[in-house]
């Protein structure tokens, strides 16, 4: 990890939400930071090329775009790779992770509507041979203002 300039640190920390909806948003950011617009654009370009930021854009509410749920499965270690591959093979699955717990496979299933979601869950259960826990979102206690990065 390289050292990040003061400007980069501020771009990364202070603009994770509330991007200006003016015709020239990067010029507005530049004015706030007291630098040239080209400096802001070049810095963002570099951070994006390096993969430190994935994009400047939108994150959508998971429960407002299609139907989705979090799924957990308890899979014997010796069978985990096979099952994980089956799960990942479904186009509706994203964020498929191993976690340290008896329930060791965790993934998110997103479909265009609830009927399709249920269909996919049944197919996954059938093909993997393990019961799954369907844990849909009920309530969110959180306002997403981004994540405060510490530079020490």
């Amino acid at each position: 990890m390289r050292q990040y300039s003061n400007l980069e640190q501020r771009l990364l920390n202070e603009f994770q939400h509330g991007l200006p909806l003016s015709p020239e948003p990067f010029a507005d950011i530049a004015r706030q930071l007291g630098v040239y617009e080209t400096t802001v654009l070049e810095s963002l370009e570099r951070l994006q090329t390096e993969g430190v930021i994935s994009r400047v854009g939108a994150v959508f509410q998971p429960n407002r775009v299609g139907a989705s749920t979090l799924v957990a499965m308890a899979v014997p270690e010796s069978d985990l790779q096979r099952v994980a591959e089956i799960v990942s093979g479904f186009a509706e699955v994203n964020h498929n992770y191993e976690r340290e717990h008896r329930y060791n496979l965790w993934f998110v299933v997103v479909a265009a509507d609830d009927a399709r979601l249920q269909e996919v869950l049944e197919q996954i259960e059938d093909r993997c041979g393990y019961a799954l826990l369907d844990l849909p979102l009920l309530n969110e206690f959180f306002i997403d203002l981004g994540f405060e990065l510490k530079w020490t």
């Binding site: 994935s54 939108a58 976690r99 965790w106 981004g146």
Partner: protein, 182 residues
């Protein structure tokens, strides 16, 4: 991958303007002086329509965050713990808000218990530079929110088998919107 997604989600349907706009901002703004004007050019509408369109998507709560999307791992935040809590049902809103207000907590959701297999009803995601930092942050939450008697577990992530972000979401948003508007 895209081919597969196409089949699964039937992405061949024509998109309306809002669906196309959701897809465009999900994929990210072009880093140019007038990004909304550039998107407008691609979609065949005006810059003002793009800006107003984004405003209305924000206003109705579909957009969670609009700005610089940072990859924590790239910045040295390598430990990721999903902390699950067994909160008393009648205090879940109060305690959930307490847990969700710390800057190192990036998600805080109520999900159903599945008894007897699964007792936990609140899920929070905590990022740290390493495991010790995550553990310390969890201890801090326990003391600040008074959760000494609440059962909880930290599930650290291990292997990542699949991760797909914005494009997937944006494409899904496209078809969802297209379906909604027939």
């Amino acid at each position: 991958m895209d081919m597969k997604l196409n089949t699964a989600l039937d992405l061949d349907q024509p998109l309306d303007l809002e669906g196309a706009l959701i897809a465009a901002i999900g994929e990210g703004l072009p880093l140019v002086t007038r990004p909304y004007a550039e998107i407008a050019g691609r979609l065949g509408c005006s810059e003002a329509e793009v800006i107003d369109g984004i405003r209305s998507i924000i206003a109705d709560g579909r957009l969670k965050r609009f700005g610089v999307i940072v990859r924590h791992r790239q910045l040295g935040y390598r430990a990721n713990g999903m902390v699950v809590w067994d909160l008393p049902d009648d205090r879940i809103a109060e305690l959930g808000r307490c847990i969700g207000r710390y800057s190192f907590v990036t998600l805080c959701y109520q999900r159903p218990r599945r008894l007897p297999d699964w007792r936990y009803n609140l899920f929070s995601m905590i990022h740290g530079k390493d495991r010790d930092e995550v553990i310390k942050q969890v201890e801090f939450i326990v003391s600040q929110c008074g959760l000494q008697d609440v059962e909880h577990e930290i599930l650290f992530s291990n292997r990542c088998f699949k991760q797909r972000g914005a494009n997937f979401q944006a494409r899904l948003a496209q078809v969802t919107e297209a379906a909604r508007h027939g």
